[in-house]
Symmetry: C2
Subunit: 151 residues, 2 copies
C-alpha cells in the first residue's frame, strides 16, 4: 500500500466522501480507513451541518463507522485535510501509525505534533483537495470557523 | 460556579452518567457540559460496549449531545476521568477553558498538555470516581485497554 498509485486510490475514497458531504450541504472533509491488504474498512465525512453533529469530523466519522477494533497499528487512516487537534488526539490515543493527508495548506492541524510522536504522515498535497477546501472556506467562513472552534 | 459545592454537584451529573453506562454493561465514564449560569447543556457517557461505538467517550458523547455551539469558551466540561488524548484534543480544538475532572489516579490522559496550553483544570480527586474505575479496570482489563488503544 505504499506506492503512489495506491495512495492516490485511497485518497479518492476520502475525496468521494468529502464530495458526498458537500452535496448534502455539509463541510467537504472526508476520511477512510484501510487494512494493510488494502481492504476498505470504513469511510465517513464531516456531518456538522447535515446532522447537527459537531463531533462528526471526517476522521471521527470513519473511525465510528469501522466499529470496535482491537488495534489500529496496522490500519491506515486517510483524510482529505490535515487533522485538527481533536482528530490528531484520536490518531495518537488509538495508536494509528500511518496517516495519509490530502492537503495541509488550508489547515495544518496537529501534523507536526503527530510527526513528533512518531506517526508516519504522508502529505499528498492534492490540488483537488486544496481547491475544494479553499472554495468552501471562502463561501462559508462562519461554518468553517465553527468547525475548528474559532469564535 | 466556582465553589466546591457547585463543583461537587456538577460532578454528580457526570457520575450519574457513568453509573448509567455501567448499568448498560458499558465502561463507567460520564461527562456533562454546563453554561456559566450553571445550566446543564448536555450529558453523556462512554458507549463503546453498549452501542459498539468506539468514538463515544464520555466527553465526546456529551459534546455531541449538546449539538452545535458557536463557542465553548464559557462552557465548563465535567468528566469523571481525566480525558485521553482524543478528548484532550477535543477540549483544545474547541477552546474549552475550564475542565472539571473527577479523578486522574487511574488514568492521567492529557491533563498536563491541557494545563500547558492554558486550560484551567480542576481535579476533584473523587474517591467515588477512583473506586468506580479501579473496580471496572480490574474486572474488565481488555475492554479498558481497547478503549484507550492499548493493544
Amino acid at each position: 500500500m505504499s506506492d503512489n498509485t495506491n495512495l492516490a486510490e485511497m485518497l479518492k475514497v476520502a475525496v468521494a466522501e468529502a464530495r458526498k458531504g458537500l452535496a448534502e450541504g455539509g463541510i467537504p472533509i472526508g476520511a477512510a480507513m484501510f487494512a494493510t491488504d488494502g481492504q476498505l474498512l470504513s469511510s465517513g465525512h464531516n456531518r456538522r451541518v447535515q446532522d447537527g453533529d459537531p463531533s462528526a469530523h471526517g476522521e471521527t466519522d470513519a473511525f465510528r463507522r469501522a466499529g470496535r477494533q482491537r488495534s489500529y497499528r496496522e490500519i491506515t487512516l486517510v483524510t482529505t485535510l490535515a487533522p485538527c487537534w481533536y482528530c490528531s488526539g484520536l490518531i495518537r490515543q488509538f495508536g494509528f501509525r500511518t496517516v495519509i493527508v490530502g492537503e495541509s495548506r488550508t489547515f495544518s492541524g496537529g501534523l507536526d505534533w503527530l510527526r513528533e510522536s512518531g506517526v508516519h504522515i504522508v502529505d499528498l498535497d492534492s490540488s483537488e483537495c486544496v481547491e475544494m477546501m479553499t472554495e468552501y472556506i471562502a463561501q462559508n467562513p462562519e461554518v468553517w470557523n465553527e468547525d475548528i472552534g474559532h469564535d
